[in-house]
């Protein structure tokens, strides 16, 4: 209760008109950040206790997990970008079901994400844009974001277990390999390049195909008319 009160107190300070609109002096802005960040860090004890209690109630017998919040607004997270396995616990504070995309900052690689009931779920990995990587205050190893979509029931949480797969092949190529790749691609490109003559041939082929189709359709119509005549006479 003490730490929750501390957060409530910080939130009270943040109701000041200067804090809301951003019309405070620079050093006051930094002080607001300090107050709010400290209160948020301290209050983490509450979800930590709560989640561990629920885990135990569900039959989990291992050591207590330490839950941390991350600076996802700048795509950085010390746990997801450094650990080979981690859990992501997502809580829906609303009283209705929601579908939300989740973006987890990670280092490039292959991952396995297991959702509730230990079922593997689909994910996508995308590189973090340079503009975000270059944010002056950002300190992170993450180069990519792991994206998956969660469907959460009202006021519920779900835990996802993420494991980084062992590397099967080298991601970093040598200069020689890069050079070889480049010349192979170049060769492929020139081999497959269509010349104006190729296009003309393609056009002729397409025209022939269209003519054939029209011809076939005419034949079908004729057949149908014939059937109809037979039917009428009978």
């Amino acid at each position: 209760q003490f730490v929750i009160d501390e957060l409530k107190s910080a939130m009270g300070v943040m109701q000041h008109h200067d804090a809301i609109t951003g019309t405070e002096k620079q050093h006051v802005a930094h002080d607001y950040e300090r107050i709010l960040n400290n209160a948020l860090e301290d209050v983490m004890i509450v979800p930590n206790q709560a989640y561990n209690k629920v885990l135990k109630a569900k039959g989990y017998e291992g050591p207590e997990l330490e839950y941390k919040r991350c600076r996802l607004n700048e795509s950085s997270c010390s746990i997801s970008e450094r650990k080979k396995a981690f859990t992501v616990t997502i809580f829906n504070p609303l009283a209705w079901s929601v579908t939300e995309p989740i973006r987890i900052p990670v280092v490039d690689g292959s991952y396995t994400i297991k959702g509730p009931n230990a079922k593997e779920i689909q994910y996508q990995i995308l590189d973090i844009p340079e503009s975000v990587k270059n944010i002056p205050t950002r300190q992170s190893l993450a180069t990519h974001e792991l994206i998956f979509i969660v469907k959460l029931k009202p006021l519920s949480f779900q835990s996802y277990h993420v494991t980084k797969n062992e590397k099967t092949k080298r991601n970093i190529k040598t200069q020689k390999e890069r050079k070889n790749d480049f010349y192979t691609n170049l060769n492929d490109y020139w081999t497959n390049l269509k010349t104006p003559i190729d296009i003309k041939n393609l056009e002729d082929k397409e025209n022939r195909r269209i003519q054939d189709t029209i011809c076939n359709e005419n034949l079908e119509i004729k057949d149908r008319n014939l059937d109809f005549d037979v039917l009428k006479s009978s």
């Binding site: 802005a29 979800p47 396995a85 981690f86 809580f91 056009e203």
Partner: protein
């Protein structure tokens, strides 16, 4: 360091240019021959306007609810699930700030309290690069603008909103001019100067350009005087369509031109407006201005109930916590 890398990079650039030119020549020839497999999009691409988009890439991002088409000038068109289409573009601009000695209203600087541009039309930021990333869960259109601005426009599978993620800053002030960066959503909605904002955070309030409901108004500053606080949502509509923009924080917003919504993103100023702060709104860290990252969500469905839910879902997003599980036996 052996020079091989630079050679490869140069060759890669040459091959990219060659690909682009050859593709265009082929398409021009195909156009002359009236090649039947050319679709409308390809025919449009043959226009003489220069394009910064990689010609080899697919110019669509789509999900079950909508399809965004990337035009030559990076305009986007939304095709809704009910077969309606809405012309729609996202563009970035900045307003340059007024500077005065603060002795009277006309001489007052733009500051932390008030926003006073010294121009009547914002300056558009030109696009430096644009690319599309496709995937099974999300497709993104990434655009880099001049002035340290980037925007990512996303469509997620099974999700009915467009997400716009922006990174703005550090705002360059080498020219000694303060700036307010804005994002504009431009549509063909005929809103007749009417737009709605949730300035008190409780209900949507109707706003009309250059008007107040209580008194006759003559605005000395038609730009600043038409900006309103946006707590969570701003929208414009006509009889057929509605465009709502949900913000992840309180921002200033307006609809200064028909069919447009503009929202303030980031401000960096060199002068104080003498209303009490006593210092210019010029936040720096390690001698660099701050960068702002944020998200806006765009809804195109005309449904108050759905919008109210989406606003709360955006405002009270799921809380994500991480735990190390290297030593965790899940068996």
């Amino acid at each position: 360091n052996d020079g091989v890398s630079e050679d490869i990079l140069k060759l890669e650039q040459i091959i990219r240019d060659a690909k682009r030119n050859t593709e265009k020549e082929q398409k021009n020839l195909a156009k002359k021959l009236n090649y039947p497999s050319l679709n409308e999009e390809e025919m449009r691409m043959l226009s003489d306007e220069p394009t910064v988009v990689n010609m080899f890439e697919d110019k669509y991002i789509e999900n079950q609810a909508m399809k965004l088409r990337l035009d030559n000038n990076l305009d986007i068109i939304t095709l809704l699930e009910n077969k309606k289409s809405l012309n729609f573009a996202i563009k970035l601009y900045y307003w340059s700030a007024c500077f005065g000695d603060n002795t009277n209203t006309t001489e007052r600087s733009s500051g932390a309290y008030i926003f006073r541009p010294n121009i009547t039309k914002p300056i558009e930021l030109s696009i430096l690069h644009s690319e599309i990333k496709h995937g099974p869960l999300v497709s993104e259109l990434r655009t880099i603008y001049e002035g340290n601005v980037t925007s990512n426009t996303r469509l997620y599978t099974d999700i009915d909103f467009i997400e716009v993620d922006f990174t703005v800053g550090p705002i360059p002030i080498d020219d000694n001019i303060g700036k307010e960066y804005i994002i504009k959503y431009i549509t063909d909605i005929n809103n007749n100067g009417i737009f709605y904002t949730d300035s008190n955070g409780r209900q949507m309030l109707k706003r009309k350009l250059n008007e107040r409901p209580q008194f006759n108004l003559t605005l000395a500053e038609p730009i600043a005087g038409n900006y309103y606080p946006v707590t969570n949502k701003i929208y414009i509509e006509d009889s057929d369509n509605r465009l709502s923009v949900l913000t992840d924080r309180s921002q200033g917003g307006s609809s200064l031109n028909n069919g447009e919504i503009e929202i303030m993103l980031h401000r960096r100023l060199l002068h104080d407006d003498a209303f009490g702060v006593g210092e210019a709104l010029n936040e720096v860290l390690n001698n660099k201005g701050l960068a702002v990252r944020g998200t806006q969500r765009i809804l195109t469905k005309k449904s108050d109930l759905l919008e109210r839910k989406r606003v709360l879902e955006f405002h009270c997003k799921p809380i994500i916590l991480f735990a190390d599980a290297e030593n965790l036996n899940l068996s």
